[in-house]
Amino acid sequence: MFRGVRRRTALAVLLSLTASLLAACGSGSDAGGDLTTEKVTLRFTWWGADDRHKRTQQVIEMFQKKHPNITIKGEFKEWNGYWDSLATTMAANDAPDIMQMDELYIASYAERGALLDLNEAKKHLDTTNFDQKALATGAIDGKQYGLPVGLGMYSIMVNTDLLAKYNIPLPDDTKWSWDDLKAIGEQVSKAGGGQVFGVQSPGINDTAGLSIRARQQGKALFDKDGKVVLPPEIATQYWTYIADLAKAGIAPPPSVTVEKASAGLNQSATATNTAVFGFWWNTQLTALTAASGAKLKLLRLPGESQGRPGAYYKPSMFWSVSSRSKHPAEAAAFVSFLANDEEAAKILLTERGVPANLKIREAIAGQLKETDKAAKEYLDTVPVSDPPRITPNGASTLDAILKRHTEDVLFGRTTPEAAAASFIREVQSEVDAAK
């Protein structure tokens, strides 16, 4: 009797295993073929906040109306959980068909063979209205692994209400230097009396500030091959500046800085009106204005007129298609819709950045809110130089490494010199480890 049961169980297990294997190598259409007329379901995942979920869902419904046989299943998460879950689903061979991809991660995924070369789906994906330079940001060795969605620029956001309150004139951002920012920040902190600070500490959220510092002096974080070429002096100078801001009381105390950084955008010093100058992406102007309720203005970064401009267009995110998608042609068609459809663009607006599609950018210009307009104008007018190399494979923890070193400096656990050396060593070893 037991024998019988065992045999039957074994058979059932075997059958289910075979079934799952068969499913895994199921036949799919190839990227260059015609769109299917059968019913298909595509999974589409993105990170973001509520506003983005609502807009994206609307656009999904528009697409489904045009293609009644295609169902798009949206899966959305917060930034942190997003990457953990994407990595896990990739490992389980269960990756979504269409993914919102970030500059930090695109090389890591592409070079591991997880992303489809969108050129293979050219037939369904229209990229004619994209600026070539912008398109190139999503390409590695001539293969288009991501279609840039929007563009952003690293900038300074200043709270002009608070400046007016303290009778401090707005600095001339076409000429100002890093020392000027320090000086005016000091004035603000004095006037703020311990409640309002001059500058929200940089170096906590984003490596862009360090990259731009290097670019202003004609250097970069990475060379073409992904080798770390950041001179230690520049990193030292960067962390010395951050340490000085904290020591002089120009930035909030370190523990406040760290706390606010982990509490998210709405708890930031800029959003809570507790710092007058903050480093942000220009496209965050709308969200931060809403959160702070104050009047915020975009300024160029300091030091842009002393050396060469360090500013650059950064693709805020990409659309990527999984290399294991069973319906690459349909996925590409959906991406094409997201990127080119004017009706869709009128819903999405600049929520994912100022559109990289130039035709779309003009099409929605009339519909933009004042803050979105300001973000677009900033992008259209501020001088930039060629974008830096895409974050190489293995360095997707770059921002986390930067944050840890900034914390070490802020709490006096290391010197800026030691932090600079350690940062460079660690990033290089991450890149090497991924090879």
Binding site: P254, E259, E407
Partner: protein
């Protein structure tokens, strides 16, 4: 029908019933068994194999011998994580057990409403490793949190306890001590097992409460203390949620809340280095096994079995 026949009949029936039971039990067990094999044993064995490979989750694993284990020796951030974890275990477990024993002794004195107190003290154990409590913790120990409000009331200026690397780990230790409920329940049960006559005899001989505790309660409770110690040490080594939530998954500030398990998780899921993460998991198993072995060895010298 004789009694013997009846018995025989019953036994026959009983056998039949038992057989049916077996069959049903097998089917009821099957899902659990499938889970054990496919979700627990399978992955455990796989992770042992993966420990010897370089595996980035997307490309197939590549065999690299003992490289991952060699890296354990030279990985400075791991050594820091080990320091953090050992501090956490060695400070929070004794404190937690002391609290548990203290409260158990109080409750054992036949308080009115005992059931209520028992549940009230046990509650944190149920919640302690939950995400909700960890989120609450960030509020309680934040710059504008409860702790600083209370301190402010006494004129002491507080700070961001969780966002300062010098104090962040202490807040997690406090959290773990707070969840003393489950060892407390076990202590309570143990205290009930100690025969009252020992205390009566001691009282007649004029022993103070203090020496009654040291000479009767503690020796007779030592097997329970030992049991709790082993369990809580293993439990503390595996702590993850608290540090993950409180530090937003970073183990920060400055790696000060980087538990071993959190570091392992980051290696696997942020750095896509599943091979190294697997090796780390097995290394943790060795550490826990070593601690448990030391515990059992030391037990010979202080645990007293009353039989």
């Amino acid at each position: 029908m004789s009694a013997l026949d009846e018995l025989r009949q019953l036994r026959r029936g009983g056998v039949q019933v038992r057989k049916r039971d077996n069959k049903a039990a097998f089917w009821f067990l099957a899902p659990w068994f499938a889970g054990l094999v496919f979700i627990t044993i399978g992955p455990v064995l796989a992770s042992f194999g993966l420990g010897f490979t370089k595996y980035n989750l997307i490309q197939p694993p590549r065999f690299i011998g003992f490289d991952n284990f060699a890296r354990i020796l030279s990985d400075e951030r791991l050594h820091n994580a080990l320091g953090v974890t050992f501090t956490y275990v060695l400070v929070s477990v004794p404190l937690q057990l002391a609290c548990a024993l203290g409260v158990a002794l109080l409750l054992d004195r036949g308080l009115r409403g005992l059931a209520f107190y028992r549940s009230a003290f046990y509650l944190p154990s149920l919640l302690g490793s939950s995400v909700a409590i960890a989120v609450l913790w960030t509020q309680v120990f934040g710059t504008d949190g409860l702790v600083n409000r209370v301190l402010g009331f006494f004129g002491v200026e507080g700070k961001g306890w969780i966002s300062d690397p010098d104090t962040a780990l202490s807040t997690l230790i406090v959290l773990n001590v707070w969840t003393f409920g489950s060892p407390m329940i076990i202590f309570l049960a143990g205290l009930r097992q100690i025969p009252a006559m020992y205390y009566e005899a001691a009282a007649i001989d004029g022993a103070s409460r203090w020496s009654q505790f040291w000479r009767i309660t503690l020796p007779l409770l030592s097997p329970i203390v030992f049991f709790n110690l082993v369990l809580q040490i293993i439990h503390a080594f595996q702590s993850f949620t608290q540090a993950f939530v409180v530090s937003n998954g970073t183990g920060g500030p400055s790696d000060s809340t980087m538990f071993y398990t959190l570091y392992l998780y980051q290696q696997g899921f942020s750095r896509f280095d599943m091979g190294y993460a697997s090796a780390l998991a097995w290394f943790l198993l060795l550490i826990i096994a070593a601690f448990t072995a030391i515990n059992f060895w030391a037990a010979k010298y202080w645990v007293f079995y009353d039989d």
